[in-house]
Symmetry: C2
Subunit: 234 residues, 2 copies
């Protein structure tokens, strides 16, 4: 049985993969393999198959185009402007993830020609992929103001300058060093370690660990740390 008299449309999935390499925020892009706009920079995208959920399609497409597997992607939203694809009307559902670049380095083999770009220096992308990235960035900024997700990108022991680089990268801003450090420590959520990182400055920077238990109990202490996520969301 079928519903009669209704239009059937192409549905595509596009994957927005953000990464942090310890110093910089980046985005993973590929060169589109088919016309139109062949060879132009693009998100990893493809059409959903009849038997797939969108999540399964997103994972299949990401693996096929980059080699990456087991990346937890979250649904961003559907993009449905009737003119968004000049060839044929296609509804695209975008998925996004934020990953530790080091952790996935081996999977991302050179067979695939996927490349990491600095988020601030991303090329122009095909179709409506640039606005998709903007919306994903905003969603991530919002989430990171409420969730410990950024900590998941840091090694177990990290320095305050590292944490600051991470936040500055995502929010495309700079924070005053002394204030950042003071506010962060005042949350009581970081445990100072005995060792220092001496590679990145003469004086050295103490390592810290996140007190995860305290973190989940004192969620609001962290909220005050990015007091107004809206300010950063365009």
């Amino acid at each position: 049985m079928k519903y009669s008299g209704q239009a059937r449309l192409l549905v595509a999935v596009d994957c927005i993969i953000f990464g942090f390499d310890g110093d910089n925020f980046k985005i993973l892009l590929i060169q589109r393999g088919f016309a139109p706009e062949k060879k132009k920079w693009s998100l990893m995208g493809g059409f959903i198959q009849p038997e797939e959920s969108l999540e399964i399609a997103a994972n299949r497409i990401l693996k096929k185009l980059t080699g990456l597997e087991g990346v937890y992607m979250e649904q961003l939203q559907a993009f449905s402007n009737p003119d968004r694809d000049p060839v044929e009307r296609t509804i695209a559902v975008a998925y996004f993830a934020l990953i530790d670049i080091q952790k996935y380095q081996k999977q991302l083999s050179t067979d695939y020609h996927a490349e990491w770009f600095l988020l601030d220096k991303m090329p122009k992308l095909i179709l409506d992929h640039n606005p998709m990235v903007e919306i994903a960035k905003n969603r991530l900024r919002y989430k990171a103001a409420l969730h410990p997700l950024l900590f998941e990108l840091l090694p177990e022991k990290f320095t305050i300058p590292q944490l600051q680089a991470l936040y500055e990268g995502l929010y495309s801003t700079t924070f005053d060093k002394r204030n950042f450090s003071r506010k962060l420590l005042s949350t009581g959520l970081l445990i100072r370690q005995k060792e220092k990182d001496k590679e990145n400055s003469r004086k050295g920077a103490f390592y810290f660990k996140l007190d995860k238990l305290k973190y989940s109990d004192n969620f609001d202490a962290f909220l005050k740390f990015i007091p107004n996520p809206d300010k950063f969301i365009s």
Copy 2:
């Protein structure tokens, strides 16, 4: 020109309309007009037309089935389980809104047989509409912890018991009266008026107005008020 060798699918839109009537949180439902599951309770749904964006389809469908016009709906997410519709594979994109029931009462004419249900006493819905509503409720709880959107449902002048009913309704919980009132007033965002509402209690309850300018400047004062929105999100 067309993309070749790709499957084309039905795409539907489902509208989740929450409302507040001054005392209670409600949800708007209709009885489905076609098979399967004809006459069972349902969200307002229909198929997207080839020339429509999802937003335009959502507005057309909501108007057609309830009479409501000009309701700002936000996209929730796409639901894509291949078995979600037993007749034919259909991807559904859900939209949601929270409206002031009084404001739209006239538009919602009796021609349409749409009915408001208490959110806690909603019937079983067709297909995957119940989980859609759960996800929408969570999104709203999250948003309301960060945004003044609940104030938009109250009259310009409101009492603290009214505000408490609104929050208790959305978060399906009860707050201690004295604490609620103390925390709320400590934000410094409410301006007490001279008049009292004497209809709902012998002692009467002062009216308040929201200091909107202060509200946007002191966003974090409000955040502490629902300190851990995650706690309410299943």
